[in-house]
């Protein structure tokens, strides 16, 4: 079977789903964050493959933006996690419980 768009998309979907799963079941903020990165990467993969099969480069430009933004997001996010850790000595979601209901 010839590898086509749908194969790439399948990978992308699975990657997205795995990321999602990670966000839901992992309790460590950092791992959750990594899972989010997986999701973004899934989008990147989809864009790149669409770009290839649509024969247009715009998708790749978008990927470029996404990577940049993701990097910025990671920086801010990790800084936050560090700040939290300093305050609370934890990077665990269950310890984020001062606000509820």
């Amino acid at each position: 079977m010839h590898v086509g768009l749908e194969h790439f998309l399948t990978v992308s979907f699975l990657l997205f789903a795995l990321g999602l799963l990670g966000v839901i079941i992992r309790r460590n903020l950092i791992v959750m964050y990594m899972s989010l990165e997986l999701m973004l990467n899934a989008a990147n993969l989809a864009l790149v493959s669409f770009s290839r099969f649509n024969d247009k480069l715009d998708g790749q430009v978008l990927v470029f933006f996404i990577i940049t933004v993701a990097a910025a997001e990671v920086a801010v996010g990790l800084a936050l996690i560090v700040a939290l850790y300093r305050k609370r000595q934890t990077a665990h979601v269950e310890d984020l419980n001062s606000m509820k209901l």
Partner: protein, 636 residues
């Protein structure tokens, strides 16, 4: 018609007096009472002047439009267009019926006013009393002069409320308050039927005016009088009379109403208010058909008997007279039911004289006895209160139907009417009641004025002042001669077109035309008096209860009507009210609102549980949301 303004003046003078007293002179007893007396006396004078100028048979109407909604529909009642308008006039109907009543109301009423001046002298609220009296007089005059149903209903209600005020005059006394309340509500029950009757008549004929209705009935008597709806309307209207004239089954208020000051009892419960029912029946007689009249006659007869029986075993001087009133009213209503409006009105008139007399005399006794009302605490008053004694005797004779006193003539005409209608059952009842009447009247008479003093008050009793005795004397004169001074003429000419005017002597001899009822009437009255004499001449206590046993207890307790009503009607209403109250409180207010409120609150609290504060849960819910939306839109 001369003096056109006079009837208006007669009507509104008492209102003016009431207003002036209420607004300005409440602080001055004397001025207030004089204003009030002046208004009613002026009314009497004006009435006399008016009658002497125009005679009794004016048959005139003056009216002003009072309320007008939509088109005039009464004129074209027979067309098939619906009723689209309501026209209510404020008008005065002047004919023999109303003018006679005017005379009675202002005349007897005037005497009662004068009597009250002295009777109420010690009361701090005398001014208020006279304001109420004036209001009452105004209302009563309004009923008498009304030319249409709604106006009559209006004054009907006003009479109800002014009697409420008067009965409850001594508001500090709980029993007075209760009695006033009872009178008002019972009257309202009757008015309920009355108003529905008015609505029914209006719904069918589109008019409220007596004159117009009468001419419609005259033109279409065959169809109209045989219609079921007219029977119903007649009976409903009769309900009004039942309430106001205290007929069975709404008779219960009258005796309690004796809680009011005695002049009030005299005014309301002898001369005027209770007479209003009978007057109204005569006024609208044209629309009562045979079926309705039948019911009316029997109700009247039954009331007469019932009240007489109760009166036999009462011990309160005013209550005895009150039940006697009831009984006499039963006579009148029965007479109306037997097509004898003339007889009814005749008896109404004479009754006004002698019953007012009896009440006022009783009032005089009560005053002499320092507000003691139980007859078994009195005794031997004839020497201490001679004028009262004589006038009371005249009243009692008139009430018992002893010739030549007025009561004899009027009662006789009712007997005659019974026989003329060949209603022997009611005749029998009437005769029995006549006997009972004589018996209880003289029971009262002997116990109060003969025998020995049964209390200290009785020993120190004294005759009342002139202001009190003069009205007694005047009324006594009329009670004595009322039967043959032409009253019956005026009524007769009103109700029976071919009525021939009788001369004085003819009037005097009138009962002889029908000797059977006359003889029976006199006989039973004498028997009654004799029985009373033999039993009560020197009795210290009432020997009857021992003889009558259970019956006596029943009589004493008014055949338990109050208790029956308490247990049925009032209980039922209270129960329904309790149920509604409970529904309102628990179901509507508590349960439903509680559920809505609690449900809202609970769902709020429940939903809030989603916000666990746990990031994991949030992420999960977020993804679940996405999944849901995806499924919702694309999953199908």
């Amino acid at each position: 018609m001369k003096h056109e303004l006079f009837p208006w003046l007669i009507l509104f003078l008492p209102l003016l007096s009431a207003t002036v007293i209420a607004l300005f002179t409440l602080r001055s007893k004397t001025i207030s009472s004089l204003i009030s007396i002046g208004a009613v006396v002026a009314g009497f004078v004006l009435t006399v002047l008016f009658i002497s100028a125009n005679g009794f048979h004016v048959n005139a109407e003056t009216s002003k439009n009072w309320l007008s909604i939509g088109a005039e529909t009464s004129k074209n009642w027979s067309s098939t267009d619906g009723i689209t308008g309501l026209q209510v006039d404020f008008g005065l109907k002047l004919d023999a019926l109303s003018l006679m009543m005017l005379l009675i109301v202002t005349g007897v009423g005037g005497l009662i006013h004068i009597y009250s001046y002295a009777y109420m002298d010690e009361d701090d609220s005398k001014a208020r009393f006279f304001a109420f009296l004036s209001l009452f007089t105004f209302s009563m005059l309004g009923i008498v002069l009304s030319n249409n149903f709604l106006q009559m209903f209006i004054f009907w209600e006003l009479v109800g409320v002014s009697s409420y005020l008067l009965i409850g005059f001594w508001y500090g006394k709980p029993s007075a308050g209760d009695a006033a309340k009872k009178a008002f509500i019972t009257n309202r029950l009757g008015d309920f039927g009355f108003l529905l009757g008015i609505l029914t008549i209006w719904g069918v004929l589109g008019s409220l005016n007596f004159g117009e209705l009468q001419s419609i009935f005259a033109a279409h008597s065959a169809t109209l009088l045989s219609a079921g709806v007219i029977t119903i309307a007649g009976l409903l209207i009769f309900c009004g009379a039942v309430g106001k004239s205290a007929q069975f089954p709404l008779h219960v208020w009258l005796a309690d109403a004796m809680e009011g000051p005695t002049p009030v009892s005299a005014l309301i419960h002898a001369a005027t208010m209770v007479a209003a029912g009978v007057y109204m029946l005569c006024r609208v007689f044209f629309l009562l058909n045979a079926d309705a009249l039948h019911v009316i006659a029997y109700i009247g007869g039954f009331t007469a008997l019932l009240a007489a029986l109760i009166a036999v075993q009462q011990n309160d001087i005013k209550r005895i007279i009150a039940y006697s009133t009831l009984s006499q009213l039963g006579y009148m209503v029965m007479a109306v039911g037997l097509n004898g409006q003339t007889a009814a009105m005749f008896h109404l008139t004479t009754h006004a004289f002698f019953k007012a007399l009896l009440f006022l005399a009783a009032g005089s006794v009560i005053l002499g006895m320092h507000h003691e009302q139980d007859i078994w605490h009195m005794g031997n008053l004839r020497k201490k209160m001679p004028i009262t004694f004589i006038t009371f005797l005249i009243g009692a004779l008139a009430l018992s139907g002893i010739p030549p006193f007025s009561g004899f003539y009027s009662k006789d005409s009712i007997f005659a009417q019974c026989l003329e209608q060949k209603n022997y059952l009611l005749f029998g009842v009437a005769a029995l009641v006549a006997g009972l009447t004589a018996f209880y009247t003289f029971r009262l008479f002997f116990v109060v004025f003969f025998g020995k003093e049964k209390s200290d008050h009785a020993k120190h009793a004294h005759e009342s002042s002139l202001v009190i005795t003069v009205p007694l004397v005047v009324l006594a004169v009329f009670a004595a001669i009322g039967g043959f001074i032409g009253v019956v003429n005026y009524y007769g000419s009103q109700f029976t077109p071919d009525h021939e005017t009788l001369t004085f002597v003819q009037q005097l001899m009138e009962p002889l035309k029908t000797p059977v009822p006359m003889c029976i009437g006199i006989a039973v009255a004498l028997i009654g008096i004799f029985l009373a004499f033999s039993i009560y001449k020197n009795a210290d206590t009432d020997p009857l209860p021992a003889k009558l046993g259970v019956l006596s207890t029943a009589m004493k307790n008014r055949f338990y009507f109050d208790e029956i009503y308490e247990a049925t009607f009032i209980r039922a209403h209270d129960t329904i009210a309790a149920i509604c109250g409970a529904i309102d409180r628990f179901l509507l207010e508590g349960f439903i609102i509680g559920i809505i409120r609690g449900g809202t609150d609970l769902s709020g609290r429940g939903l809030r549980l989603l916000q666990t504060g746990n990031l994991q849960t949030y992420a999960f819910l977020f993804v679940l949301g996405v999944a849901l939306v995806l499924y919702f839109v694309l999953g199908k």
